[in-house]
Symmetry: C2
Subunit: 516 residues, 2 copies
Amino acid sequence: MSVDAVGTERRGRRARKAIRQARDITMLPSLHRRIPLTELMDGAQVERIDAASMRILEDVGVVFRDEIALEDWRRAGADVRGETVHLDRGLVRELIATIPAQYTIHARNPDKSLPFGGDRSIFVPMTGAPYLRDLDDVRRAPTLDDLANFHKLSHMLPALHSSAHHIVEPMDHPISHRHLRITYSSMRHSDKTFMGMTTSPKNAEDVMEMCAILFGEDFLEDHAVCTGNCNGNSPLVWDETMLGAMRAFARRKQPVLCSPFVLGGANTPASVAPTVAQLNAEALSALAYTQVVRKGAPAIYGHYLSTVSMKSGAPMAGTPEISLMNYMIGQMARYYGVPWRSSNTLGGAKTFDAQAGYESATTLMSVLHAGCNYVWHSAGWNEAGMHCSVAKFVVDAEQCAMGYRMAEGVRWDDFDEALTAVKDIGPGGHYLGHPHTLENFQRAFFMPELFDNNAIEQWAAEGSVEITERALAYAKALLKDYEQPMLDPGVDEALLDYIARREREIPAAEALNQDH
Amino acid sequence: MSVDAVGTERRGRRARKAIRQARDITMLPSLHRRIPLTELMDGAQVERIDAASMRILEDVGVVFRDEIALEDWRRAGADVRGETVHLDRGLVRELIATIPAQYTIHARNPDKSLPFGGDRSIFVPMTGAPYLRDLDDVRRAPTLDDLANFHKLSHMLPALHSSAHHIVEPMDHPISHRHLRITYSSMRHSDKTFMGMTTSPKNAEDVMEMCAILFGEDFLEDHAVCTGNCNGNSPLVWDETMLGAMRAFARRKQPVLCSPFVLGGANTPASVAPTVAQLNAEALSALAYTQVVRKGAPAIYGHYLSTVSMKSGAPMAGTPEISLMNYMIGQMARYYGVPWRSSNTLGGAKTFDAQAGYESATTLMSVLHAGCNYVWHSAGWNEAGMHCSVAKFVVDAEQCAMGYRMAEGVRWDDFDEALTAVKDIGPGGHYLGHPHTLENFQRAFFMPELFDNNAIEQWAAEGSVEITERALAYAKALLKDYEQPMLDPGVDEALLDYIARREREIPAAEALNQDH
């Protein structure tokens, strides 16, 4: 080895060590996508879906199982027959026209507020799991402390833009009080954006009150601070719980995800394009309703997408038709000028095995290429949403960081400089010691923390650790370093006072959660 | 449950049972892609890469470490200085213009011949692994019987279009005789297309002789029947072994994959676009050389792509920059009108864990969206190519089938009929019993065999089987059902005679394999 090569190698080792030691928990800004999107449909096909959806809304109609909503629709001029609302396409178009296409979702730490919609995307962790796989990969019922750990991890993982809400269900607290504790945990343990519970209209009102305490009542009027999800019952039904929660959010001008719940083949036709037409009709009906409740309220075109196995009846994830539907739905949302939500990293594996990896990565790639704005369920989802896995949570978050980098596209600013390096190095040379390499290698190529790419001998010498164990060690190390973000003590006290009062007022048991 | 619902459920169960029992090993035709591709670059950026590559070829030059090639280049009018060949852009363009853009790769079973290039893609299993993880997931040295098993699986897995060649190295045979045994195994155990060994010029000649026996000498002259890979030594070097093998294939008009071997950041600049410019120059230099050897010989724009971790020095797969480079390289290959090869399902995991799943699925999605024609290393690759895993082989092949379905795009022929179903079913209904569903469900939504989507209770009752075990059981079942495809006894005897003669002629030891 030449003296020069030794020096290069020494510099390389020092640089590598410095990278290993740094842990940057700075949140990545709202992703500004710069890759072209996968658009399957030409203009005529987009219009064919649109026309089919409008025909469904006019001829078949949508059931709103809620007296207030039916009354609202009558007042808005819809043709209401029993519980079925027939919506004229002119009325639908007029209503959805007032949904804002782009806005900012505000965090309590202004540095973590997120430009949203258009070519912006954000990653939001999974929510709603009745079980977790914990820091020792044991599957069990979650507690409020477990939930707090997920909120802490969300706070620290750079590609996650939100702490969401009930990532896992805190089973050690009464159902009727949970929404208060969940909301407080999201607010307390992270200063990123979060989601609000929509498990009942009253629960949604409580979330809005707590947001008013955290941000100030007036602030909410002009700023989105809390997103809430409302699922439809496909085909073509919205129920009372979801509609009441939707009103609570829309009245306060907080963004509602209007999410038909698709089990493709079971509650939709057994075909991709017609499923999109039905889902589109369902989403439009709820998006339109948010504007009946309050003109100009932000709203998000949503859906939960799975296909059903005709062998077993089980919902499936990571299948080709889900990718295709995502591409088409993205086009429809952009056609209407409404930001849209999809689901990331879904899967049906029972453990964090290779199945989970394939399903999650396929879905991540498809939603990024589809141009999804609100990339929900971006970390932790496994077992069809029945559990959130700590190991998968941190790996998924790193995958989001990798997808983020991909979707940012290619830099050209160093192109000419780097070509000089090609000339400097010449045929048969190596680049590791070249000044351009030394200046750029940290940001040039993504280096995943949680993938092991070492030779098998080194891997064996380090204990033959597979990804689950590696990820759990990583999560433990993160939690050890966690520091609670500052929260104004007066605000904190007011939140706790509100919770204490509501816990006195609310009886001990209510309906089960339905959030997905 | 109503009488009608009972009937529907019974029909559903019968249909599900029928699906479970059928195992269709019919090969999928060469994929006809119908999704739009991800093209990152505008026309000016494509021309910027082209101009940079041409400047590299003119000013820096490419080293051809081979006397015959240097003499060929002198005769072709290139500026040869020592071992360095400086290629004028006019000469390069003139030479590559005669590479066919589209043709058929012929299999010995004409039903399995593959239209290739343009919007056609084919999936080819991995090759070159010095180890395998076997039918019991034990990592060990492979034998010729192990290789035969992979050829049998390739024959039976519908989305694999080739049996490739040395999927694993048959370590129980002398290195110098292996290429004969490998080629015979590919030819014997499968009637799909295959690849030819390029481990030395003489070995490549043996493969060509065996192809002439299998297909007839005259047939080769006008038909591509065997692809061979030649790796470059980036930056900007082609060595004697590869160039000699390249000549053996090109002279017989058999397609050569011209594959720069990129360890991004180590043997290229630490930046995406300049790496593509260098790789493009390297690929063009070899593509041009195939036409010096024989005008009109088919050739394939190739590469092996990884990025190097600056933390550990290890090559990485499934990283965002590899996706970006694939998108750009696809555009360049289409700009030159040459079919192109990329690598699928690469990864550095040591076992078939979630890391392997993420890496493989990310890469599969990126090469499909990049519009790759020759999707090599599509099954089995793990541990940076150091082993081929039986479990991963069958799962990857199913993933290819899923990617295939996605890349076919969306059908519209049943759109109006399915919309009638939406009207028939109405709000709140279910589709499982509807005639459109019963007619279409088998092909509507892909149902993976190797993903388990059942509830955890059922999964536990069935033994809590993770994907590796499931996949190995599947591989064993396939091999049990394997039937050797008919091979003309006269041809078979001629092949065996050729091998016997060559084994008498060839001494016992030669150079190691270099194929990737």
